[in-house]
Subunit: 354 residues, 2 copies
């Protein structure tokens, strides 16, 4: 049995009894009923995921999956492909957005080379990044499959392996991505999974203008026509339209769910990965927490498909795991509410009169 | 010259040059232009408030102002008035929602007795709370002014004094409130300031049902008719419709602004205080950061009047400063983005091509 199959077999839904116990305690806290709103919903969910009334969330890891994209030759991004590799160096040196936000919340950043177009062997040998290279970037999805089905499976299993190896020292995961051009495969995947027309799920990526946006929509439409992905077969969609880092994110989610650990889903690219994970394992969705609503146009549709309400809505569109890192604070806050706030009985406070 | 007058004279708007310098650096960071959205807006604002490209935000204080309300006799809350005093004890013992969330973000909680109906002298003598008692709760605003104009001034000046005394050890302030019944005066004040009808700005408070909500609206309508507050005179509105803790919050904001320190405004009650502060000093609004959008019905209208977009929207309706404490993490995140993220030049990353 392969790693994917065995992992899928180990994913159970969150525990209803632990949720009910948490809900009962939250209803007795010294505050009007459920007065901390979404944070109390989240506290209840954390109890269900972790089977604990003291959900562990201290040890936090953002996994930033990097990969390049053949579709970059279509000119769908403002930035040259070399930026993917340059940003991996920036991550390793601690100078990127994700580094600043992860440091603030006390999270480790684990950078994974899922298939960057460029030589990162020195960083991998030095242990500064994890190497799970599937290839030097995908092929151009406008002309055929972005990768083979075997490569798609390898991406997902690599993500699972990273999750399992980090799991020993991680209570709370966050997803992240880096890959010039990767809003294009993500939008194509969201279009394939949801059936929405490309123009409704295609956004501005790094900040393209109207002309480039129209080109990007045309590329995605062509990719759907050329590849005819089977929306009921998530590995087919990933292979034909996806990216190595997107498959890695799907695997990371499945691995976290198999270890009963909560995992924050970052923005648009991560949500594309989450759609693959949920289709491979519906109960895995019970361990997902949507970190934020991205400014990227298709993210709302992708979140609706995932069935998740995001915690934050700050107009972020960076990726890297920055939304995950920010939302980790809210996850910790939810856990603290469950464990540190006194009940009416404990505090000797009078309750509602009617 | 009184403390209010001298404080108003010391409030300047945030500095446009510091904002421009921050904006220039933020535009050079290794990410697509302004890809961290609202956090980058906030980073720019922090630079303007603090006149620094390294805005200090480490030392954080939530000031939770407590007071009681004569209008409680109208039965507008689910909880007995004694809960205000009981919750002050809960704050001091560290068992309330604000304690858990403040600990998480490393903020001190300073509890101020602005006028609780009950004896908190032991706590004040022991230095566990700050005593600025204006009286043992306000009078019933449905039958006449909640307090005298002199008391209203005293509330505001007490808030300024607390701000000045905490300022030596505080970089970032947050407002908070505790007072059974205090959504009623807050809604009355918002109705008076905005001219909106009471039913549009009156919410469910601690969780009242339809019958109590109608009674609450009627109480607020009567308060407006009986008192005829002058919307152009913020101390008149505060005196006739307000609460001691609401005046204290207004003063806290003015004091923070006079020290050029950012201050997070918590939920509905704090925003009512902020409306007083902004009317006393329009430039003070430049130091305000709206922490969150409360679930309380009138908060949206109050925020629009204040001209602020909230950072969080999590269905919170607790008060105490819980929204301020949560949002402090986002303020720190904004400051870190400005100070810790490398520019394209610093990191050797290629820039946008077109």
């Amino acid at each position: 049995m392969g790693l994917l199959e065995s992992t899928l077999g180990r994913i159970d839904p969150p525990d209803a009894d632990a949720r009910a116990e948490a809900r009962a305690r939250l209803a007795r806290l010294t505050m009007p009923h459920w007065a901390l709103g979404r944070l109390m919903d989240l506290a209840e969910e954390l109890a269900g995921m972790t089977r604990s009334l003291r959900p562990p969330v201290d040890r936090k890891t953002v996994v930033t999956m990097a990969g390049d994209h053949g579709v970059a030759v279509e000119g769908v991004s403002l930035y040259p492909q070399a930026v993917t590799q340059q940003m991996v160096w920036n991550f390793v040196r601690g100078g990127a957005g994700i580094n600043a936000l992860a440091r603030l919340v006390g999270a480790r950043v684990v950078v994974v080379d899922m298939g960057v177009a460029g030589d990162l062997a020195d960083l991998a040998r030095g242990g500064r990044i994890v190497s799970c290279r599937v290839g030097p970037g995908t092929r151009n999805l406008a002309e055929g499959p972005a990768m083979s089905r075997e490569q798609a499976l390898r991406c997902v299993e690599s993500g699972i392996a990273v999750s399992l190896s980090q799991g020993a020292t991680t209570d709370l995961f966050g997803t992240g991505d880096m890959g010039i051009g990767n809003t294009t495969p993500s939008a194509a995947m969201v279009a394939a999974f949801t059936g929405l027309p490309p123009e409704e799920v295609t956004g501005r990526g790094t900040g393209i203008g109207d002309d480039l946006w129209r080109r990007k929509v045309a590329v995605i439409r062509k990719a759907l026509e050329v590849n005819r992905p089977d929306a009921r077969d998530p590995l087919d969609v990933l292979a034909k339209l996806g990216g190595f880092e997107i498959g890695g994110i799907a695997g990371l989610i499945l691995g976290a769910a198999s270890q009963r650990k909560p995992i924050l889903v970052d923005g648009f690219i991560s949500t594309a990965g989450a759609l693959v994970a949920r289709r491979l394992s519906p109960p895995a969705a019970g361990y997902l927490i949507a970190a934020h609503r991205s400014a990227e146009a298709g993210h709302g549709a992708a979140l609706r498909d995932l069935g998740k309400q995001p915690l934050l809505d700050l107009g972020l569109r960076l990726g890297e795991g920055t939304g995950s890192a920010l939302a980790m604070h809210l996850v910790e806050a939810a856990a603290r509410i469950l464990t540190e706030v006194a009940t009416f009985e404990e505090a000797g406070v009078a309750e509602a009169e009617r």
